[in-house]
Symmetry: C2
Subunit: 286 residues, 2 copies
C-alpha cells in the first residue's frame, strides 16, 4: 500500500479565495489583524512575515507589533490591553516564544474572546468545549478541515490524538467530539503508545517530537494526520510522523511540509474576517 | 470474582470533617453558598435541601433563592447578577432543571469563576483544561477523589469516560489528563460501545442511561465508576452501570446509591470554603 497524500495547499488556496471574496463584500472597512512579537527566534519571525504576506494578498491589514526579545511582562500587558481596546483591530495574536520569565497564561487572558482568532485564551477553549461560539486555535481546526477536504469522515470513528497541549491536542479533541468522533487523548505517559493508537481509525500526531509515530503504532489502513514541523540539521523539514515507514501501512497521510501547516495561516485570516464581520454586525445593532 | 465496592460515604465524612475544621479556622466570617432554584422538580428540591442541611452542619450558610418554576430569563439574570456582586456570597450554584425557554448557557456565564463552586461557567472549564486555578464540577471531581480514596492509581492508565456532557464527561477528561491518564471520551455515537470500553483499565459511566454498562462492555478486572442516578418505577435507585452483571467481572465498582453521589455535596462545601478563603485573602491584599 502507498498512502494517499493529504495535501493542504489546494484547501489553503480555496480558503484564501473565500477570505478575499468575504473582504470585498464587507461593509465597514478593512479587517485588521495585530500580531504581537517579542522574540529573536528566526522561525517565529518567518512565520509572522508569512501571515502578513498572506493577509496583504487577501486584503487584510496585518499590524506587526514587535516589542523585542527584551520585552517585560508589563510591556506586553500594556500592548495587549491597548490592542484589545482598539476598535480598529479585529484579530489579535500573541506570537510565541516569549521572553523568559514572562507568564503566557496571564497574557493570553488579556485577548478578548471576540478577537482571539487563534484561540489562545482559556475562555475560548471553554466555549469551544461546550459548543458556544468561539475561535478554535487555527492549527487544531486545520486538522478537521483537512480531513473534511479529503472526504474522510470522523463521525462514529475512533480518533487517537497524540499530544495534550492547550493549543492543539485539547481543542482538537473537543472539535472532534463535536463531530461525533470517539476521541482518545494520548501523551508522553501513554505507554506503550501503540496500545492507544493501534486501535484507532485516525491518528493525529501533535506531540512535538520528530518522527515519533511510525508503522508500528498504527493499524493497516489507518489515516495519519501530522501536526508537527521540525527543521532537521540538514535544513530539511520533518514532522511528528515517520512518513517513510507509515506510507506503507497507512491508507492516507498528511505530508510535512504541505499538509496541516499550509492550512493554518489561511484559517487565521478566515477567523479575522469573521471577527471583523461580527464587529461590524455588533456596531449595527448597537 | 466479586467486585470490591468503592463506597463514597467514608470519604464524604472525611471531607465534611475537613470542611468543618477549615470553617472554624477561617478569619473573616462564615462562608456562604447561594443556590438559585426555579423548578417544581421534587428531586431538585430534595437535592438542594440536602446541600443546605450538610452546609449547616459544617458551619456554612446556605441561602436558597427560589424563584419558582415560572421564573423568566430576566428574573434569573437579575438574581444571578445580584448574587455575583454580593460580597457576602462566596459560592453560587444555579440548580437545574430550569424553566422551558430559559438559556442555561447565558445564565451560567453570569457566575463569576471565583464563586463558580460547581464549575458551571465555560470559563471555569477552559481554565481547568489548561491547568489554571478553577473549580471543577463537583461530580467530576468526585470521581477522581473516590479513586484516590480507594488507592486506585490513574497515572499511565487507560480510562474510558462514557458521556461527553459539559458538567461531567468533559471536565472529568481534563482532570484525568492532568493526572497522566490516557483518556477516551465515548458517547452515544461510539458504536459498538465495547470497542472503546473493553480495552480500558478504568471505565467511568456518566451517560444518563439506566444500566447502560454491563459485563459485556468491560475487561475482566476493570474498575467501574458509576456517575448515574435513576429512580426506578418501584422507587429504588439504579445507576448507569448494571451492578449485578458487572460485579462478577469488574475488580471494583462504585455503588449507586452510596458511591460518587455521596461525595459530591461534600466537595461543593469544600469548594465554598476555598472560595471564601480566597475572597478573604484577596481582601487582605487589597
Amino acid at each position: 500500500m502507498t498512502a494517499q497524500l493529504l495535501g493542504g495547499k489546494e484547501l489553503a488556496q480555496k480558503i484564501k479565495a473565500q477570505v478575499a471574496a468575504d473582504v470585498r463584500n464587507l461593509d465597514g472597512g478593512r479587517p485588521t489583524l495585530a500580531v504581537v512579537v517579542a522574540t529573536d527566534d528566526d522561525a517565529a519571525h518567518w512565520y509572522v512575515r508569512s501571515i502578513a504576506s498572506a493577509a496583504g494578498k487577501a486584503g487584510i491589514n496585518c499590524r506587526i507589533v514587535d516589542l523585542g526579545a527584551g520585552a517585560s511582562q508589563a510591556n506586553l500587558e500594556a500592548e495587549l490591553v491597548s490592542l484589545a481596546e482598539d476598535a480598529g483591530v479585529h484579530g489579535l495574536i500573541l506570537q510565541t516564544p516569549l521572553p523568559p520569565g514572562v507568564s503566557t497564561a496571564q497574557l493570553v487572558g488579556l485577548i478578548p474572546p471576540e478577537k482571539d482568532v487563534d484561540g489562545a485564551n482559556p475562555v475560548s477553549l471553554g466555549r469551544l468545549a461546550v459548543g458556544e461560539p468561539s475561535f478554535a486555535p487555527a492549527t487544531a481546526r486545520s486538522v478537521v478541515e483537512l480531513l473534511d477536504h479529503h472526504g474522510i469522515p470522523v463521525s462514529g470513528r475512533y480518533v487517537a490524538v497524540v499530544g495534550r497541549s492547550a493549543v492543539v491536542g485539547k481543542p482538537l479533541a473537543h472539535l472532534l467530539l463535536q463531530r461525533d468522533a470517539t476521541v482518545t487523548v494520548c501523551h508522553s505517559r501513554s505507554v506503550p503508545l501503540a496500545r492507544f493508537t493501534q486501535p484507532a481509525d485516525i491518528v493525529v500526531v501533535a506531540a512535538g517530537r520528530v518522527r515519533l509515530l511510525n508503522s508500528e503504532h498504527v493499524a493497516p489502513g489507518a489515516v495519519v494526520v501530522d501536526v508537527g514541523t521540525h527543521v532537521l540539521p540538514d535544513g530539511s523539514l520533518a514532522g511528528d510522523a515517520d512518513e517513510a515507514s507509515l506510507s506503507e501501512v497507512a491508507s492516507a497521510l498528511s505530508p510535512v511540509p504541505g499538509g496541516v501547516g499550509s492550512v493554518t495561516t489561511a484559517l487565521l485570516l478566515l477567523h479575522t474576517v469573521e471577527a471583523c464581520r461580527q464587529h461590524v454586525a455588533a456596531g449595527v445593532l448597537a
